[in-house]
Amino acid sequence: MRISTVKCALAGAAAGAVNGLLGAGGGMLLVPLLSLWCGVDDKRSFATAVAVILPLCLVSAGVFAVKNTLPLGVAWPYLAGGLLGGALGGLLFKKVPARLLHRLLGAFILWGGIRLLAA
């Protein structure tokens, strides 16, 4: 399928708005948009979303740092764990079937939504 630059830009803007507003969730919006709407290969849309979200988080964290103090004391163990987990995820990515990725994504999102609304 042909990849539309305009559609990709719109998908990125939507993900950026969600990510900036809520601090998470942009990637989960971006993966379905990239694969179903923008014409990006199903499996690669996951890795591509990671690449797109990184600069978005950088900007959002920068804006947060200007307005508030970054909670580095709370954050550092997660950053250390994330570094290890992220490397492992990158290493395993090619071996994981896309279907499993979609099922996991859907299950986690739904569970998260229920917890947040019930809280």
């Binding site: 950026g16 969600v18 990510n19 900036g20 809520l22 989960m28 993966v31 990671v50 900007v59």
Partner: protein
């Protein structure tokens, strides 16, 4: 507690590396289990994604898994939108953001579970 946090970061990091919302799982862990304020959890989550995505991207780039033709326009438009939205977020209350996020998750989760698998 620190060891548990590192482990939580690592588990969510694998999922984040896959691009399937490890950040959202980490948010749920921090807000629902640890009862951290939503705003603190959001900031931790933003920071969390930087080393996590960086580490996984090394492998994604090497493995040619990134479609740059799609990624570059999405990054440019997304960065602008993220900056605007982050400014807006700091003037909104935590409770409302939590409800918005919860509703949003239900919608996307239902879509992902109901979608048919790729025909391959």
């Amino acid at each position: 507690m620190t060891a548990v946090s590192i482990l939580a970061g690592a588990v969510c990091g694998v999922l984040s590396g896959f691009g399937i919302g490890g950040g959202s799982l980490l948010m749920v862990w921090m807000t629902a289990v640890l009862a951290l304020p939503q705003r603190t959890a959001q900031a931790v989550n933003l920071l969390f994604f930087l080393p996590t995505a960086g580490a996984s991207l090394v492998f994604h780039i090497r493995g040619r898994q990134i479609v740059w033709r799609a990624a570059v326009p999405a990054m440019l438009a997304g960065t602008a939108a993220a900056a605007a939205a982050a400014l807006l977020a700091s003037s909104l209350g935590s409770g409302l953001l939590r409800k918005i996020f919860g509703g949003f998750l239900l919608l996307v989760g239902a879509c992902e579970l109901l979608r048919r698998g790729p025909k391959r």
